[in-house]
Subunit: 493 residues, 2 copies
Amino acid sequence: MSKEFATRAENYSEWYNHIVTKADLAEHAAVKGCMVIKPYGYSIWEKMQQALDQMFKDTGHENAYFPLLIPKSFFSKEASHVEGFAKECAVVTHYRLKNGPDGTVIVDEEAKLAEELIIRPTSETIIWNTYKGWIQSYRDLPLLINQWANVVRWEMRTRLFLRTAEFLWQEGHTAHATSQEAIEETERMLGVYADFAENWMAVPVIKGKKTANERFAGALDTYCIEAMMQDGKALQAGTSHFLGQNFAKAFDVKFTSKEGKQDYVWATSWGVSTRLMGALVMAHSDDQGLVLPPKLAPFQVVIVPIYKTEEDLLKINAKVEEIRKSLISKGIRVKYDNRDTQRPGWKFAEYEFKGVPLRIAIGPKDMENGTVEVARRDTREKEVLQMVDLDNKIEHLLSQIQDNLFQKALSFRDQNIRRVDTYDEFKKTLNENPGFILAHWDGTAETEQKIKEETKATIRCIPLQAEERDVKPGICIYSGKPSERRVLFSLAY
Amino acid sequence: MSKEFATRAENYSEWYNHIVTKADLAEHAAVKGCMVIKPYGYSIWEKMQQALDQMFKDTGHENAYFPLLIPKSFFSKEASHVEGFAKECAVVTHYRLKNGPDGTVIVDEEAKLAEELIIRPTSETIIWNTYKGWIQSYRDLPLLINQWANVVRWEMRTRLFLRTAEFLWQEGHTAHATSQEAIEETERMLGVYADFAENWMAVPVIKGKKTANERFAGALDTYCIEAMMQDGKALQAGTSHFLGQNFAKAFDVKFTSKEGKQDYVWATSWGVSTRLMGALVMAHSDDQGLVLPPKLAPFQVVIVPIYKTEEDLLKINAKVEEIRKSLISKGIRVKYDNRDTQRPGWKFAEYEFKGVPLRIAIGPKDMENGTVEVARRDTREKEVLQMVDLDNKIEHLLSQIQDNLFQKALSFRDQNIRRVDTYDEFKKTLNENPGFILAHWDGTAETEQKIKEETKATIRCIPLQAEERDVKPGICIYSGKPSERRVLFSLAY
């Protein structure tokens, strides 16, 4: 394939944009900061949704839908929430247009809202305002609800999937009778996210807690999963928040316990978004294009016929129909591309670029020999396989690819986690070997802020699972003050 | 069950609101005109989505996602579209809030958008603006895309599901090389909607074309399906539009044909919304509450244990676990409610009100006899069934209920379609026997408008399938002028 775009080494950012747009995942919309998710990209997102939705239901959650528009005053009700959220928002001020001069339309100034409405940047406020009517007694708890929705957070500098003004996500909002139950839920959903990232996306993640600085606005604790991209930067792939009684107090949501006592309800919220699409691209793709884990690929196998005559094609068509049926019966997603408007070489390049896990080619020779040529996208290896028992072999190969992608990402990540003990070493590592850095920190917001200002690196999390050597006391790399344990630093998306 | 709300006969509108709110389908949100779709209601909507989505995919469509916000100027590009749509819209004028006095937030007047953005009331404009970049050649056609999304149309008088400022829907937007193909697509999707309404919702529909007056803004032809509610009023349950080349011309979307000629692309759009939830409620429910067709019920069977001692309950639990498994293996959705916080009578009333198609009760006597008591929601009949082969019997009953609901709605509708030949008779029928009226109309917008003003009845459609006697010429009931055929009038939601 002719080199027509930047490699990862040359320009990671340009490489990423090229993959996302040319593999038909998404493109910039006419509206500043927004994106169009194209059918191929949306199909991957749908598979993510289906898997996550099932995991949510398996853990007892139900879906519901709350309004897109939130009265402005709701944001003032939870003091720290407003600081973090109500700023860069889309504000609806009018509800009518009218004809202007020369066939244009203009805003009808007479149709001005008494109170402005905000397009939800997240839904805690409107949901807790609703929960007030739903929760009276301990019998109404736990309330385990999820919403699939679009949200808008005004962004000036946007990147497809990673940071856009509008994005798609799910937001779970649960209510519990005790602090302990709410914390368990927060951790359970973090576990669901980690499970999904590793077993569906083939992206290894580190589970941890955010520092106070990086907490969700209104949360007592924010848990996260952090993944490493191929340029060594971190990407926060999901968050789960323990909200304590903050929102219950702000919206006056109380319940009567079994013992007849009144108390405020305990809350969690948790979400992942189309940002995961960006993580998926950056974790696995290579200089030849997109690489998709089989579990999330729109189609897992593409079959391309190689033929000279119409007669050959008809024979191949008949054989492929058999193969296709046996693959489908195994639950494998197959596409047969026998369009005569494109040559096989073009198709090979196309599906390679689009990251289809397996390509099967069948020509007249194969028909004679009862074979097919199978090419793996992840390793780019080809092999000739007998048609006999092909469905089992393909099923096995797909599972191997899924596993290989995870192992490759895991070993890359583990090779790029470093322990450093001085600030000089810290800065040098960020410069020369970007990756995750485990270092001592004195626990203060000031030090965290200084390090961020000077190096752009942030504390991604305080890992929940750590080696013994990482949870021993030490000396803060920046201040020289005592530190309880190492925390995880990185440059991040 | 004690009578605590209006019957259909007493107050149809109050009855409807009571069912929707008390059966936990939806409620009014804190934001004027918006609704919260509650978990039980959303679960029905999810089942509608799944069935429709599969039907769209089976007819070759792919999903994608386009921005929520549309630049105001886009609405001026298609002249008739702007008349119909760009008026009652939510207008975004600012993108930032800031701290106001006393912990409030206020709009930051410095963050005013150069061009206002409109929350999509429908997406033709933004989608056709995008298609311009996707379509160059006949090879790019047909383009068959669907979007699941929320839309906002400002409404002053709202009713849950039937008319809300924000609602959920799907909108298909397709592009074709010829007028003929686009018309075929328009009709195909109308067929999909009719199939869904009849075979999933158990609601019979009349397929037809709208008059010019009632066409979608920007369409050359609007097709619709019209269902009859139990009060005799019509509800438009889905529309499919042939848009001609209007949007292609407005957004300059041309393609090069096989022969190398340039032409504008032909378009369709089609949609159904959460309005279908309203249709579902009003078509089947009765004075005892919601009645759900089994195919769309969140759970199709609820099992309630009847017991005095803990020992009895344990035995019943074990037996129910067997029953539950065998029902699940048949793909039947089952809920077992053995909560000890509510008595059986309360549970019976609860699930009756929520429209669960079948209720199974098991008590100690049943355990001895190897029987269960099964109650149908649609007919409210009870029968005692042997546990042996129960899964097949239940499967059969569910299919009977689905069929019975359809037949009942069909016979109600057919009894309430009347032919009238004079305007007096027309008005009398509307007054005394509301339903569908087949009457002659002179084909003019003036007459249509006059009839609407004087009686509130509208031409629901010009039916695609009609009896021979209805497509013969006659005399317009209003003007006395010649009429080509009878058209379908009704009061409507």
